[in-house]
């Protein structure tokens, strides 16, 4: 039975959710809520970072 690629699914989810954070950041910028927009940018970048690390782990899992 084939193993479910958890890391890959999680990685895709994280990358997509970072896009949601960036979208939220733009909407906060439009409402002139700069503090929230800045924080959302930081959260988005951190989420992207986690996603890329998980992508690396999923690749090493696939190769092994």
């Amino acid at each position: 039975m084939r193993k479910l690629p958890y890391f890959q699914i999680l990685c895709a989810l994280l990358l997509l959710s970072s896009l949601v954070f960036f979208w939220q950041c733009i909407s906060h910028l439009a409402r002139r809520d700069y503090v929230a927009a800045g924080m959302l940018t930081v959260i988005g970048i951190a989420t992207l970072w986690v996603g890329s690390e998980l992508a690396r782990l999923s690749l090493s899992e696939r190769d092994s």
Binding site: A36, M39, L40, I43, A46, V50, E53, S60, S64
Partner: protein
């Protein structure tokens, strides 16, 4: 016999010799009338021998020279028989004849060469191997990169100069259209500079280093590959997770 040079040559003969002689048949000397079929004969013989140098010289020099025989003997008949548009038509037909003849001669020469050199060849298509997954992935990456490099500046250009709500907002903010144009120019130049710098440092420079097999880059890449093959998460993962969670908690706390 090639169609275009033959038809154009006969037309030229009719225009330059037959029609003027026919119009001035009363004053033209009898021997000239007798010689009028000569250019046509030369044209046909030249076309028959066009693969030889004699035929080519005849077609490009001899035939046009023979056609000027009528003009060389002086004006025949009244001037109204030679209106300006007729001269233009003669010139156009002459140019077309020369072009068609040169094309035909060059085509004859190339087919003769091809016949000699390739006649004994047996042409077989090579079996081109299909590109590997790595190559296809690399090509796709380059295509995406190229599309991104075109799409981003286009988006900026659209947002600054063409998006109507944006321009309306600029106008409301600045008051006059002249100031809006100045702001658009400044924004465009700033975004162009920014994008050009990013493109150089983010795309072109790494690609250049990769193509020139830069030693430092190769060392970094091999190190990165070694790290990537290890199945353990790096400390950055925990840092990034902490930052994201703390950020979300702070945002929630601030919004409540």
């Amino acid at each position: 016999m090639p169609l275009a040079p033959t038809v154009l040559g006969i037309n030229l003969w009719l225009l330059l010799q037959v029609v003027p002689l026919w119009l001035a048949s009363d004053v033209a000397p009898k021997w000239l009338l007798g010689l009028s079929p000569l250019p046509l004969g030369v044209l046909l013989i030249g076309l028959r021998l066009r693969r030889h140098i004699v035929g080519q010289v005849t077609l490009l020099i001899g035939f046009p020279l023979l056609l000027t025989l009528v003009d060389a003997l002086g004006p025949l008949g009244p001037e109204r028989l030679l209106p300006q548009p007729a001269v233009l038509v003669k010139l156009v037909v002459f140019a077309l004849y020369l072009a068609a003849m040169c094309r035909q001669l060059s085509m004859d020469a190339s087919t003769a060469e091809t016949k000699v050199s390739v006649a004994s060849w047996s042409v077989k298509a090579l079996d081109v191997p299909s590109p590997s997954v790595k190559q296809r992935r690399r090509r796709l990456t380059h295509q995406i990169l190229l599309a991104y490099c075109v799409a981003m500046p286009t988006l900026l250009l659209y947002a600054i100069c063409l998006h109507v709500p944006n321009i309306r907002q600029f106008l409301r903010m600045l008051g006059t259209m002249q100031k809006v144009t100045a702001l658009q120019a400044a924004l465009l130049s700033a975004s162009t500079m920014l994008w050009a710098s990013l493109f150089y440092f983010g795309v072109m420079r790494p690609l250049k280093l990769h193509v020139s097999h830069d030693a430092a880059l190769r060392h970094d890449l091999s190190k990165l590959r070694q790290v990537a093959r290890r199945g353990r998460p790096r400390p950055q993962l925990y840092v990034a997770m902490t930052v994201a969670l703390v950020g979300m908690a702070t945002l929630l706390w601030l919004s409540l």
